[in-house]
């Protein structure tokens, strides 16, 4: 006869009492484990979703790049036709071509049977001082699009600036307080402001566009231009060589360079698409984090409540058990059993409830969390958590049973035995 025999036999005798205590611990442990498993499942799923999204984005980016390549191939590219003797470094350094070529070049090109160039825009550009306003400006004379004589006439891409009017860049009209309809003098000649451009963030903001002929007169360069912009050039191979060859066969005294390369455009588009994809992934991460925080908040309220209820429930069950066993405690004390033994008798029962409750509750919580989260995996089994549960559930049970056990130990045996 020992204390274990007594505890086990008592449990067998009062199965309901043990079962209700066990149920309480199982419920508490299931709630804790379930909540933690759900969080684990949530994190697992978040990783899966993000990885999937990243893979999806990678695939989309590859497709997008291919699409851009095809679109750019169809869109063609822009060329700048310059005098042969123009130094390209000077062109980039001073923002305009310093060498001149006859305006008739553009007419020659328009009269050619070029199938590769779609729009021709001749211009005369020069950086000058605007004496009336004491400003440095880029003056550009344009005559609008020159149509190809062998092609059907189309809506021109750009029309000429009417004589006597100017189109003025943002920085100039903004700082000088000019607006559409104002009259202004440029190099001694009167012009009406025909249009004020929006800001573009480049040299266009300090540019004034006027009619080509007027520009030639003001700059004393009659019949001269310094660039022809060839827009939307198209060739099946996607390279300039074919176009250059064609231009130089018509205008041998020129050179051809690409303006605003399509590689740059494609890179910009790709970067923009990548940023959007990253933004979408970040938004998903934020959404998942928000859901996780909600789960954590809910668990932070639910878990302590369940633990407290469980502990109270065990306390009440043990108080009932102590009352039911008064006579038994009385006779044990009468035969000389010490108070400590009586305490151990109840605490050992509480320990068994805690250990069994921990094991059952852990696996039940793991199952519940998995079902709720929709993920079944052996990787969800967390040995560290299992050991923690195995430590804390019996501790909870022991703490809850401590007061009733102490009550039992301090019970006056004479009172019970006399009453009986």
């Amino acid at each position: 006869m020992n204390i274990s025999t007594l505890v086990i036999k008592e449990i067998k005798r009062r199965k309901l009492n043990f079962f209700l205590g066990l149920l309480s611990v199982v419920f508490a442990v299931t709630t804790v484990t379930g909540a933690l498993t759900m969080l684990q499942v949530h994190d697992h799923k978040t990783n899966e979703i993000i990885t999937e999204k990243e893979a999806e984005t990678g695939e989309r980016m590859a497709l997008l790049e291919d699409d851009y390549r095809k679109i750019m191939k169809k869109l063609g590219f822009n060329l700048l036709i310059l005098p042969k003797e123009q130094n390209i470094s000077d062109l980039f350094a001073s923002d305009f071509a310093s060498k001149l070529m006859p305006e008739s070049y553009v007419d020659s090109l328009a009269a050619s049977r070029s199938m590769l160039i779609r729009h021709l825009l001749p211009s005369l550009q020069q950086k000058i001082e605007w004496p009336e306003k004491r400003r440095t400006i880029i003056l550009i004379g344009i005559r609008g699009e020159v149509p190809f004589l062998h092609k059907d006439p189309k809506e021109p891409m750009m029309i000429a600036v009417p004589k006597g009017t100017m189109v003025i860049g943002f920085e100039l009209h903004d700082k000088l307080g000019l607006k559409q309809g104002d009259e202004v003098k440029l190099l001694g000649r009167k012009f009406k402001v025909g249009k004020c451009n929006e800001p573009r963030g480049n040299k266009d903001d300090i540019t004034i566009w006027i009619n080509l002929q007027e520009a030639q007169e003001l700059l004393n360069k009659q019949g001269k231009i310094n660039a022809i912009l060839a827009l939307k050039c198209f060739c099946s191979g996607g390279n300039q060589a074919q176009v250059r060859e064609e231009v130089q066969s018509v205008l041998p005294g020129t050179q051809v360079i690409e303006k605003g390369g399509k590689v740059l455009v494609r890179a910009e588009a790709r970067a923009r698409a990548a940023k959007e994809a990253q933004d979408a992934i970040q938004a998903e991460k934020r959404h998942r984090n928000k859901l996780r925080n909600q789960l954590v908040k809910f668990a932070a309220i639910l878990v302590p409540l369940v633990l407290l209820s469980s502990a109270l429930w065990i306390t009440f069950l043990f108080i009932g058990n102590v009352n039911e066993r008064k006579s038994e405690i009385g006779i044990l004390r009468a035969v000389g059993v010490k108070e400590k033994f009586i305490m151990r008798l109840f605490l050992l029962k509480a320990l068994l409830i805690g250990v069994f409750g921990a094991v059952i509750g852990y696996f039940l919580g793991l199952g519940t969390g998995s079902v709720w989260g929709g993920l079944f995996s052996f990787s969800l089994f967390n040995l560290y958590l299992f050991l923690l549960v195995l430590l804390f559930a019996p501790l909870l049970s022991l703490l809850a049973a401590y007061i009733p056990a102490a009550m039992a130990a301090r019970q006056d045996p004479a009172e019970v035995l006399r009453e009986e």
Partner: protein, 214 residues
Amino acid sequence: MIYIENISKKYTKENKTIHALGNISLTVEKGEFLAIHGPSGCGKTTLLLIAGGLLHPDQGRILINNENIYDLSAEKRAVFRAKNIGIVFQQYHLIPYLTVLENVQVPALAQKNSVPENKIYEIIESLGLKERLQHTPAELSAGEKQRTALARALLYNPKILLADEITGNLDQGNAKIVMNCLAGYSARGGTVLLVTHDKNANKLAHRTIYIEKS
């Protein structure tokens, strides 16, 4: 061996004071079989509980083998009781989920040394419980229950046996078995304090005392 001097005990319940015992003095020699008679409520059970070290008297002292048991701490008194005193009650106080064999072994929970198995069986057999070893109290008759309680009290061969109305619920046959057992125990040198209403006990007791209602 048992020296009871000027013992008084009163209970207070719902602001009413009940004087259970008033200035009782008594000496019981080693091996003496003492029968205590008295009307209900005269404090017989209270006297037994006090003598057993289970109920602190309001005044007076109890010396057992010249040791005042109420000078001992509760823990030491429990050890003293386990070593020296066996107690049997009218209501048996058997543990309901243990068998007869296990109930008889309950005092072992308070002892360092275990009783040899043959001695356990010897006691059980002497009280006619051999066939009931694996039965629980619910499956026993009143006489069997009381004999089981008596076997439990005698397991460690205590120096003193305190018995409270132990034949009160028994038929004549069972009462006789129980009383003979007490007489035998006394004859072997054990001291018996028997609280009873049964006049037949006087035949076996060495001495009989009457307690008047306080």
